[in-house]
């Protein structure tokens, strides 16, 4: 079978006139790095599950995207992340919601799938499970970026609808 990999980094009102050239360059480079990372696994005969986790981790680590570092702020000024992973061979799945301290939430979703009897964990329980699994933790300031803070401030100041802001920036 020929291998394939497809990725996304968010959808919305993305216009040429509003995207700065430097930011566009960074985004394209990050997408390409994610593809390279996943492709390397697949081209060497590795598993699709490993490839999707590795590709997503690249995007989680890049502040240009709304996941991991660079995640948007809640109304209360915190970063709460969600993620999910699923294996098509077994239909095993794992997901986490509202986690705050795992550097790569996608790896926590995989740990839920592989190392717990559950499909979804949330909030403080998921944070605790992450620590117990020995996953890398990061402080709140790692996830927060000035640009995301500015977006929250804009939302509050202009009373934009939540969907307007997410589709514009998410």
């Amino acid at each position: 079978t020929d291998w394939k990999l497809v990725i996304h980094g968010g959808a919305g009102v993305i216009e040429r006139s509003r995207l700065k050239p430097e930011q566009e360059k960074e985004i394209r480079a990050a997408l390409d790095l994610a593809l390279q990372t996943g492709s390397k696994i697949l081209a060497s005969g590795g598993d699709s599950l490993d490839a999707v986790e590795a590709a997503v981790k690249v995007l989680e680590n890049d502040p240009n995207f709304n996941a991991g570092r660079g995640a948007v702020f809640t109304y209360d000024g915190t970063n709460e992340m969600d993620s999910a992973i699923m294996d098509g061979e077994t239909r095993n799945a794992g997901a986490v919601a509202g986690v705050t301290a795992t550097k790569n939430p996608i790896s926590l979703a995989r740990a839920v799938m592989e190392d717990s009897p559950h499909v979804m964990l949330s909030g403080e329980g998921a944070n605790q499970f992450s620590k117990e699994q020995g996953l890398e933790q990061a402080p709140p300031e790692y996830f927060a970026t000035p640009e995301r803070r500015r977006q929250l401030d804009e939302l509050k100041a202009r009373k934009l609808s939540w969907f307007d802001v997410d589709l514009k920036y998410g």
């Binding site: 020929d2 959808a11 993305i14 040429r16 948007v72 969600d82 699923m86």
Partner: protein, 134 residues
């Protein structure tokens, strides 16, 4: 929201999705990303899907599972199924996009927004795109 779907050389598919949620969200709001069947789904009998967009609409439409169900039970192609389900999302009032791979080797996407950060790779090479007309 970021995501990836893949088909490996053994013919198995997988999907992964990760997000920060919605700017200014309150009340412990959860979107579609961690909801298996809405934002993420993988089934070797059909396809793997990851979604991005206005999560509440994707939950109502059961987007990721619905695309797989159309492929498995109706015989749709990946692009055909993705476009049909994204049209349902649009009809409900939602915006966003999906990426899809099938065990047969179809790798595609569908979105109803002006743009989507996206990319594809295979043994033939890699492609990255942002704007709708790319």
């Amino acid at each position: 929201t970021v995501g990836a779907v893949a088909l490996d050389t053994k013919g198995h598919v997988a999907a992964a999705t990760s997000t920060g949620g919605l700017t200014g969200k309150r009340w412990d709001r959860i979107g579609d990303s961690p909801i298996i069947g809405a934002g993420t789904y993988a089934d070797d009998r059909a396809c793997a899907v990851s979604a991005t967009g206005a999560g509440e609409y994707f939950i109502r439409a059961g987007v990721a599972h619905e695309i797989c169900a159309r492929i498995r039970m109706k015989g749709d192609g990946g692009k055909e199924a993705a476009d049909a389900v994204m049209a349902e999302v649009k009809a409900l009032g939602g915006d966003g996009g999906v990426i899809v791979v099938t065990p047969k080797g179809e790798a595609t996407w569908s979105f109803n927004t002006p743009g989507m950060y996206r990319g594809k790779a295979s043994a033939e090479g890699r492609t990255v795109a942002i704007f709708g007309d790319e």
